[in-house]
Every structure is written in C-alpha cells, then in structure tokens.
C-alpha cells in the first residue's frame, strides 16, 4: 500500500514538472511581443551566488534563460571539456548549479527573449552555444564581422557584455548597445 502511494506521488510530481515544459514547446514561431508580459522584456538576471562564483570567474555568468534545459543538461555533462577548458565541479556544487540552471532555463521562463530563443530551437536540437541559436543569429545577422571578430575589444559573439552593456542584468535592449570603437547600434 505504502509503495503504491509513493509511486502515485512520484507520477504526479513528474506530471506537474513536465507539464509547463510540454506546454511551452508549442510551435508558434518566435512569438509576438504582445504575447509576453511587457515588464519582462529581456531575460531574468542571475541571482544565484554559487552560479555567479563558479561560472562567472572565467567568463560572463550567462543568464540561465539564454538556453533551454536540454542544452544546460548537455553542457553540464561535459564540464571537463568545456569549450576547450576544464571547468570540473565537485558533485555537490554540480548538483546545485544544475538545479538552478534547469529551474531558470529558457523553456521555463516567461521573459520575452527567453521565449523567443527557446521557440526558435528545433525540439531535436540542444545547442551548446547561445550564438548558434536561430533567434540569436537572426538578431545579429546585420552586424558586420569587422565589428565583432575583427574588433579587438569584442573578438567573439560569446562576449555578450562587450556590446550589451546591461547583459549581466539580463537586458539586451537595443538602447543599451554600445559597440566598442563604433558606438550605438540602431537597426
């Protein structure tokens, strides 16, 4: 009897956890602005001190809402070879950061940019690079190479905060863009 109860409880929990994932995966393109809460325009800012410390010491602490859960899971599974660097974590820290990333991933977020990023990714894909996401590429396709890879102060699209001055606060608003050596960017 006890075990039946336990199993039922587990099934219910799984059901509730996966429900929002399934619902948010509906394929309606990248979505219109009106579909989102006006106050949540960017992505959620990073609030987790462990994540900030562990991941932010080598690079910008990318907001969790920039990748879907399946991408974070893939990334966290191979920290020993993390884009060519070793970023191993002890088991407890690994678990704590994974939990934070999965709970705040793009597919769990109601922020506009998170939804757009997430909705542009095919369900079969789990990109590791934010800069490989279709919505990201679409948003950056007019930026000439000389301003990024040819720009010593930017070098790569991986360095969000080189141009997006409020990236670490989760804002990718056009008004906050300042490309080093070039200035403001208007579409």
């Amino acid at each position: 009897m006890k075990s039946t109860l336990a199993i039922t409880a587990i099934i219910f929990t799984i059901g509730f956890v996966t429900l929002p994932v399934v619902m948010s995966d509906s394929d309606y393109g990248w979505g219109k602005d009106e579909e989102y809460d006006r106050s949540s325009t960017g992505v959620a800012a990073i609030s987790n001190p462990v994540y900030k410390e562990e991941c932010g010491s080598c690079h910008m602490a990318y907001p969790a809402g920039l990748l879907p859960a399946r991408s974070w899971t893939r990334l966290m599974a191979d920290l020993e070879n993390h884009f060519g660097d070793n970023a191993e974590l002890d088991a407890a820290t690994h678990q704590s950061i994974s939990k934070f990333l999965l709970a705040n991933s793009a597919d769990q977020s109601n922020y506009r940019r998170s939804r757009k990023l997430n909705n542009s990714i095919r369900l079969a894909d789990a990109p590791l690079r934010i800069s490989a996401i279709p919505y990201f590429r679409h948003e950056h396709d007019e930026i000439p190479e000389r301003l990024v890879s040819g720009n010593a102060e930017v070098k790569s699209f991986s360095h969000c905060n080189a141009c997006h001055t409020k990236a670490e606060q989760g804002s990718f608003n056009e008004h906050d863009i300042h490309i080093p050596g070039y200035g403001r960017w208007d579409d």
């Binding site: 010491s57 690079h59 910008m60 060519g84 070793n86 191993e88 360095h159």
Partner: protein, 138 residues
C-alpha cells in the same frame, strides 16, 4: 542517542563556520600534503614548474601557468580564451589568495589538467603553494 545527534550537529555547524586566515589555510594544506608524502616544499621548483610549457593538442597547443596568470604573480592575469581579468595570484597583492582550501584544490585540479594534461602530484602542489605565497623571493 540524543547527545550523539547534538554532538554531530554542533560539529557540522562549527566546521562550516571556520574561516581560515591566510597562513592557516596554507598550513593545513601543507600538513595534508606532508601526510601524503610531500614532507618539504621547494619554491624554486614551484617557479620552474610555473613557467614550464606543455604541448597540447588542439587550441592553445603550448600551455603554461603563465598562459593566463603571466610571469608576474603580483599583477593581474587574463583568461587565455575569454579574456576575463584574473586577479593577481600573490597574497601580498591580493589578500584573498590562499585563504580557501576548497578553492585552492578546485583550481589545482582544473588548471593542472588543462595545462599539464594530468592532475598535479602532492609534491608539485606543495611547491606551487610555496612559490605563490612568496613569488618575489624567487
């Protein structure tokens, strides 16, 4: 039974709240290393290892501690790939250094593997600590 739990709980709390002073963290680590076979430290050896270059496959084929931390431990370094500034290694210019055992071991593990392709031995770690502690003497 009750006292047992009480003792365990209070032990847990006290160990979590200990913050070690600079030399204390280093002393503790060096004692641990000594118990594992590295009875003495050699800062000069540490320095030699610090500047040594290792060949690797792929990106950054020549790797060294200096790839990111430079040869001047009293000055800030820069992550070879991301370009993020790394605070200086020497406790004389950055008092936070060598104060957190967990942090020291974490970076030893990651960075020895990235640079040398393997974990450092306890002797190498002991020598590194001695060198990082007083880099300007060597």
């Amino acid at each position: 039974m009750k006292t047992h739990i009480l003792v365990t709980v209070s032990l847990l709390f006290s160990s979590a709240s200990i913050t070690l002073a600079n030399s204390e963290a280093m002393d503790t680590l060096l004692q641990t290393y000594a118990a594992q076979g590295a009875a003495t430290t050699n800062a000069e050896q540490g320095k030699r290892l610090w500047v040594k270059t290792y060949q690797n496959k792929g990106e950054f084929s020549e790797r060294s501690c200096t790839s990111c931390h430079t040869q001047d431990l009293t000055a800030p370094g820069k992550h070879a790939k991301t370009g993020k500034i790394i605070k200086s290694m020497s406790p004389s210019s950055n008092p936070e250094r060598l104060t957190d055992i967990k942090k020291i071991e974490k970076w030893f593990k990651r960075n020895c593997k990235w640079t040398m392709g393997r974990e450092c031995t306890v002797q190498e770690k002991a020598n590194f600590l001695a060198y990082i502690d007083k880099p300007t003497n060597f």
